[in-house]
Amino acid sequence: MTSASKLTPVLSANWDEKDSFTIEGYKRNGGYKAVAKALAMSPDDVIQTIKDSGLRGRGGAGFPTGSKWGFIPQGDNKEHYLVVNADESEPGTCKDMPLLLANPHVLIEGIIIGSYAIRANHAFIYLRGEVVHVFRRVQQAIEDAYKAGLLGKNIGGKGFDLELTLHAGAGAYICGEETALLDSLEGFRGQPRLRPPFPAIAGLYAKPTVVNNVESIASVPAIINNGIEWFQAMGTEKSKGFTLYSLSGHVNNPGQFEAPLGITLRELLELAGGVRTGHKLKFWTPGGSSTPMFTDQHLDIPLDYEGVSAAGSMLGTKALQIFDETTCVVRAALRWTEFYKHESCGKCTPCREGTWWLVQMLHDLEDGKGTEADLTKLLDLCDNIAGRSFCALADGAVAPIMSSLKYFRDEYLEHQRNGGCPFDPVASTIFKTVGA
C-alpha cells in the first residue's frame, strides 16, 4: 500500500478544481444531492442516521454529533437554532479555513440538513473575523445558495424554510468556546456562560441550539449520500470516518491531509514529505497547542479519539504542529502561554491570574533564571489552574507546559545551567535553509 492510498479525500476531493468553491463546481461533483435525499426523510430519521454513522465532533471534544442533535427538545413550540462554530483560532489549527475557502457549499449543504433535522429555521455561521477572504467566499456561497432556492422559503419545494446568517467574530479566541460564541453572536462580550442550562435547552437567545464545528457539519452530506456503512468502513472502532489532518511546522510539505481516523503521524509524515530535510522530529502537538505534546516516541499512535487519549493527550482539532530538534521547547511553551494570557477572557481567577503568572515564570526560565525548585512551583501552579477554571481555556493553557516538563525537564534545567537558552533561535526558523 502506498502512502497516498491512505488518503480518503471527501471534503477535499475537488479542492484542486479551479471552480471548486462555486455552486456550479460543487453541483458538478454531486453537490446538494444530499439535501434532496435528507428532505425526503423525516427529521428524526436524519438524526438517527447521523447517530448511527458514529460521526463525532471534529472541533476537538469528539462528542457524537447525532446525539447532540437528539438533545434538542422537539415539539416545544420554540425556535431552534443551528450555529456553526467557524471561529477557528487554536494555534496550529488550520482545517476549517481552507475547507471554507475551497468548498464552502459543503458546509451550507450540511447546515441545511442539520437544520432540517433539529427543526431549526435559522442557522448561523460564526466565522473568525480576521479571515476576510474566507468571509467573502462564504458570503458569496450563501448568496448563490439563496439564488438557487437552497436557502430561504420552501427549500426544494419541501416546505422547509431556512435563513442562514454569516457573522464575523471580532477576534477573540474565547469565542470558539460555544457559550462565549453564543454571547458574542447575541451582541454581548464573549465570555463563557454558566452551564446548565446547556445550549440544547437554552442557547442562542435562550432557545434550544446546536453548536457544531464546521468540519462536523460539512461531513454530513457525504454520510447522507453514501450511507452509514460507507462512512463506518473508514476509521477505527469508536472513531469512524474521515477527517482533515493539518500538518504544519517543520515538515517539507505542510497542508491538509484527509484520511481515516486512526492514521499515525508516521504515515502522515510520509505523505507530507517528512520532517524538514536534515532534521529529526523533536516534539509535536496532536491537535493544536491545547493538547499535550508528543515526541518521537509517539509516531505510531493511532490518531483517533481513543488512541491519542490513551497516550495522554487529546485528538483535538488534528492540528499536527511538527517541531524538529532546532526548537527550544521552553521557548515554544512560552510563546503558547503568551497566547493564552492574551486570550484569557478574564472571567475566572485561575485562568486570568494564572496565565499572567506563568508567562513571567517562563520568561525567567527561558532566560536561565531560577532553580530546579521553580520547576516544581511551575507544575504546582499548573495544578492550581487545570480543572479549576470556568471553561477549558485554562486547561489548554497549561497543557504545553505540563507536557513539555514531562518530556523535556532536563532542557528546562539546561537553561539554568547555561544561564540562558542553549538554542539558536534562528536555526528553527523556516527561512533558515537546510543544515542550519
Binding site: T349, P350, Q360, N384, I385, R388
Partner: protein, 779 residues
C-alpha cells in the same frame, strides 16, 4: 438561604433535599446552592463573586469543593456557588478535602498576585472579605515574585463612586447588581485577561439611584464612596442599627459613628423590606445635620425683633405662656418619628384642647383627609403582596423617585417573571421604562385586575380631586389589594399617632364618643376636644385671618405647602421645634432645638405600617427629642401630657393599642377634570429622588448623580413650539417662570411635566402651584 421560589410561596410545600456536607447531614429546599446548604451547617466556604441576591456567576472559583453524587465523584472540584443540591450528594469542603483545600489556597494565591496589598491605606482594610479570607483560607505566604498589574487610580465612575482597578478581583458583583437588581446596567466589565476591568460608558454615566450598594457589596476596596474615602478605619467606628428617615420604604440601616460624628451609613439586612439594599439618598444624605447652621440653644425673639439665646426653662416658659389659653394649631411635618408625632397629637388635644393638627406639609384635600382617616390605616398590603402580585398599578406614584425600595421590589418581579405594571403617569419616566409599565390616562378604565393585583397609591394622587375615590372604587371592584405610600418617612406613623384633625392615636375617630372616652381615660383627662379640626392649609388660613393665635411647628418647610405659607404665619405666635435654622425659625417667636435622627431613639412606620425602632447612635448628645420638649411645655402650661421620654411614649402607644370599633365610611369626591385653557398646558410634576430636598443639603457628591431637570412635552407640542430635544423653553404662570431644556416624550399634547423641586425647576416657589395651567413658549 432559601431559593426565591420557596420564599414566595411559603404556603406551598417545599421539596426538601438531603445531602451530606463534611460528614453532616442537612436538608434544604430543592434548588438551594451547595454553598448555602453549607452555611446552614455553619460551614463557611470562602467566596467572592457569590451573593445570595444575585444570579450565580461562578467567576472567582474561590468556593471550589469536592462533590460526589450517588457514588460518582466529579473529576474536578466544583464551584459550590453554582451547583444546586441533590439527594445523595456528598460534599467535601476545605475542611475535609485536601483537594478542595489546595484548590482554594491556589485560587487565593492567584487573587493576591495582582492585588496591591495596600490594606493599611485601603478603606476596606479591617472589614475586607479578601483580607479575612486570605487569612482563613489562603497560603501563609506568596510565591509570586513577578510584576504586579497596575492602573492609574482612582477612576471616578460617578461623582459618588471611585474605582481602584488594581484592587478589583473582578467578581462582577457590582455589574450584576447594577443590571439585575437596579436595572441600571451603566457599569460593565471590559477588556480581557488580567486587564479586565470595570468600566463605564462614555455617554451613559453611572447615574443610578442605587450605586452605593455596589460599594457595600464590593468584596475588596475597589469601589469606594467619594464621601467616605480615607475618612476612617472600620475598627474605629461604632455601628448602630438605625432606620432610614428619607422615605416610607422602611429600610433597615446601619449608621457608623466615630467620636460623635456620622461617617457613613449602610444598608441593613431585612429580607421582608429592603433585603440588603438601600438607595443613594438613604446611604449618602446625612450631612444635612451639619451643613446648615444648627440650632444649638433655645432662642427667644426679643423686643428688638431678633432671636436671642435663652435657657431651657426660660424658653419653655415663654412658649407655654404664648400658647396657654390661646387658639393654637399644630403642624407636625412628615419627618417626625412615631413617638414624636404621638407627642404632637397628645399635646394638641390635651395642652391646646384642639383638633387643629395635621402632619401633611404638602398639597392635600378633604378627600384625602377622609381617605387617610377612614381607609388608609385599614390597608394591610405588604412587600410580600408585590412579590406575589399578578399586576401592579401605580397611581400618583413614581416608585423609583418616591419610594426607591418599592421600585426594587417591583423590578425584581418584572425581571424574574415579567410582572405587568400599569401606571397613570403622564409619560414614561425612566422608572416606568425599566418596569415596562403600561401607561393609562383614565384610572377608572383600568380593567383585568384580580384579588392578587396590587394598587399602590402615592400621596400625589390626592392632588387630583376624585382620583382617590376612583382608586378605591377600582380596588373594591376587583377586590384588589390597595396600599397608600406616602413619600416621607414620618407620614404613616403620624397618621397612626393621630397627628391629623380627624383621628386620635390608634386610628380612633375623633367623631366617635367612645373613641374619645377611650383615649381620655388612658390620658387621665376629663374630655377631649370635639370640634372638627382644621387641615394644614386651613390652619394657615385661620392664622392669617386671626381665627387662630398661635401655632406649634415641628420641622416643616413652608414651601412644601404653598408659596404663601410663610406670610400666613407672620402675625401669629410661632413655636418652632427645629434642628437647623430655617425660614420658619427666621420668623418664630421661640425656637427650641431638637435632636436629629442619629441623636435620638424612636421609630418610623413604613408604608406597610410596620415599625422600625432605632436607638440613638450618638450617646452623649444633649439634643432632646420633640416629644420630651412638648412634654415640658405642657407641664409648664399646667396641662401635662406625661411623656418624659421616648421609651415612655412608646410604652403608652403600645398600651393604648389600635381602634377596633367602627370607622365612618369614606366620603367619595367627584372627579375634577383638568383641562388646558387659553392655549395653556396642564403642568404636572413630581419630585425626583435626588433634588433640592433639605435632607440632601451639603451632599455635593450625591447631587452629582441627580437626574438633570428637563421639561417633558409631546412631539406634536414640540413641533408647535418649534423646539427640539435639548432646546430651552420657558414655563410661566401669573407668579413667575422657569426655563428648562426640553425632553420629548410620548404624552398628551396638552400636558407638560417638570420636576417639582430640582435645580432650575422649583415649581412651587417659582410658579406658585404644583399643578395647573401654564404658558409655555420657546425660550
Amino acid at each position: 438561604m432559601v431559593p426565591e421560589q420557596a420564599l414566595l410561596e411559603t404556603e406551598a410545600p417545599v421539596e426538601m433535599i438531603t445531602l451530606v456536607i463534611d460528614g453532616f447531614e442537612v436538608s434544604v429546599p430543592k434548588g438551594t446552592l451547595v454553598i448555602r446548604a453549607a452555611e446552614k451547617l455553619g460551614i463557611q466556604i470562602p467566596r467572592f463573586c457569590d451573593h445570595p441576591l444575585l444570579d450565580p456567576e461562578g467567576a472567582c472559583r474561590q468556593c471550589l469543593v469536592d462533590i460526589e453524587i450517588n457514588g460518582r465523584a466529579f473529576p474536578k472540584p466544583q464551584a459550590s456557588c453554582t451547583i444546586p443540591v441533590e439527594n445523595n450528594m456528598i460534599v467535601k469542603t476545605q475542611l475535609t478535602s485536601p483537594v478542595a483545600e489546595k484548590a482554594q489556597a491556589g485560587i487565593m494565591e492567584f487573587l493576591l498576585i495582582n492585588h496591591p496589598l495596600d490594606c493599611p491605606v485601603c478603606d476596606k482594610g479591617g472589614e475586607c472579605p479578601l483580607q479575612n479570607q486570605a487569612m482563613s483560607n489562603g497560603r501563609p505566604d506568596s510565591r509570586y515574585e513577578g510584576v504586579k498589574r497596575t492602573f492609574e487610580k482612582p477612576v471616578p465612575i460617578s461623582s459618588q463612586v471611585l474605582l481602584d482597578r488594581e484592587r478589583c478581583v473582578l467578581c462582577a458583583r457590582c455589574t450584576r447588581f447594577s443590571e439585575q437588581i437596579a436595572g441600571d446596567p451603566f457599569i460593565t466589565l471590559n477588556e480581557r485577561g488580567a486587564l479586565q476591568q470595570v468600566g463605564i460608558y462614555a455617554e451613559e454615566p453611572f447615574e443610578s439611584y442605587y450605586s452605593g450598594n455596589t460599594v457595600q457589596i464590593c468584596p475588596v476596596g475597589a469601589l469606594t464612596g467619594a464621601s467616605y474615602r480615607f475618612r476612617a478605619r472600620p475598627f474605629d467606628l461604632v455601628s448602630v442599627d438605625s432606620a432610614c428617615e428619607h422615605c416610607s420604604s422602611g429600610c433597615a440601616m446601619r449608621t457608623d459613628i466615630r467620636r460623635g460624628k456620622t461617617l457613613r451609613r449602610l444598608a441593613g439586612d431585612d429580607s421582608s423590606v429592603n433585603e440588603e439594599w438601600n438607595c443613594d439618598k438613604g446611604r449618602w444624605a446625612f450631612k444635612y445635620l451639619t451643613s446648615r447652621e444648627r440650632v444649638t440653644s433655645p432662642m427667644i425673639r426679643g423686643a428688638d425683633g431678633e432671636l436671642h439665646e435663652a435657657s431651657w426653662p426660660e424658653a419653655i416658659a415663654f412658649a407655654a405662656s404664648g400658647l396657654k389659653g390661646k387658639r393654637a394649631g399644630v403642624l407636625v411635618g412628615g419627618r417626625a418619628t412615631v413617638e414624636d408625632a404621638y407627642g404632637y397629637s397628645k399635646f394638641a388635644r390635651v395642652a391646646l384642647a384642639t383638633n387643629d393638627i395635621d402632619f401633611r406639609s404638602r398639597p392635600h384635600s378633604d378627600e384625602e383627609t377622609s381617605f387617610l382617616s377612614r381607609v388608609a390605616l385599614g390597608l394591610k398590603t405588604t412587600y410580600k403582596d408585590i412579590d406575589k402580585a399578578d399586576k401592579v398599578v401605580l397611581l400618583g406614584f413614581e416608585p423609583e423617585e418616591e419610594s426607591p425600595i418599592v421600585f426594587l421590589r417591583i423590578f425584581k418581579q418584572v425581571r424574574k417573571r415579567a410582572l405587568a405594571v400599569i401606571s397613570d403617569a403622564p409619560f414614561a419616566s425612566r422608572g416606568s421604562e425599566k418596569l415596562s409599565a403600561e401607561l393609562v390616562s383614565d384610572i377608572s378604565a383600568i380593567s383585568g385586575l384580580t384579588a392578587k393585583s396590587v394598587i399602590l397609591v402615592g400621596e400625589r394622587l390626592a392632588e387630583n380631586v376624585g382620583a382617590l375615590s376612583t382608586a378605591l372604587a377600582l380596588a373594591e371592584k376587583f377586590n384588589a389589594k390597595l396600599a397608600w405610600i406616602p413619600r416621607r418617612a414620618g407620614e404613616r406613623g403620624a397618621l397612626s399617632a393621630g397627628a391629623i384633625s380627624t383621628l386620635l392615636p390608634g386610628g380612633r375617630p375623633v367623631s366617635d364618643a367612645s373613641a374619645r372616652v377611650d383615649v381620655a381615660t388612658a390620658w387621665s383627662v376629663d374630655s377631649l376636644p370635639t370640634n372638627p379640626g382644621r387641615s394644614t392649609s386651613e390652619i394657615l388660613l385661620a392664622l392669617s385671618v386671626k381665627n387662630l393665635d398661635a401655632v406649634v411647628i415641628g420641622g416643616v418647610d413652608p414651601l412644601d405647602i404653598s408659596n404663601e405659607a410663610l406670610t400666613q404665619l407672620l402675625n401669629s405666635f410661632v413655636v418652632s421645634l427645629e434642628i437647623s435654622h430655617s425660614s420658619v425659625t427666621a420668623i418664630a417667636d421661640v425656637v427650641l432645638p431638637v435632636a436629629a435622627v442619629i441623636e435620638k431613639s424612636g421609630s418610623f412606620q413604613d408604608w406597610q405600617g410596620s415599625s422600625r425602632a432605632f436607638d440613638k447612635a450618638i450617646d452623649d448628645s444633649l439634643s432632646r427629642s420633640d416629644v420630651r420638649i412638648l412634654s415640658m411645655i405642657a407641664d409648664e402650661m399646667g396641662s401635662p401630657i406625661n411623656l418624659p421620654t421616648v421609651a415612655a411614649t412608646a410604652r403608652e402607644i403600645a398600651a393604648l393599642g389600635v381602634w377596633d370599633g367602627k370607622v365612618p365610611a369614606f366620603e367619595k369626591a367627584a372627579t375634577e377634570k383638568l383641562t388646558g385653557s387659553d392655549g395653556k398646558l396642564n403642568l404636572t410634576s413630581w419630585r425626583l429622588l435626588l433634588d433640592l430636598g433639605t435632607l440632601q443639603d451639603g451632599e455635593a457628591n450625591l447631587a452629582g448623580t441627580a437626574r438633570k431637570a428637563t421639561a417633558h412635552i409631546s412631539p406634536a407640542r414640540a413641533e408647535k413650539l418649534g423646539v427640539k430635544s435639548g432646546d430651552q423653553i420657558s414655563i410661566s404662570s401669573d407668579l413667575g417662570s422657569i426655563s428648562l431644556p426640553v425632553a420629548i416624550s410620548s404624552m398628551s399634547d396638552d400636558s407638560i411635566w417638570v420636576p417639582r423641586n430640582s435645580i432650575g425647576s422649583q415649581v412651587l416657589a417659582n410658579l406658585g402651584f404644583i399643578a395647573g395651567p401654564v404658558k409655555v413658549v420657546k425660550a
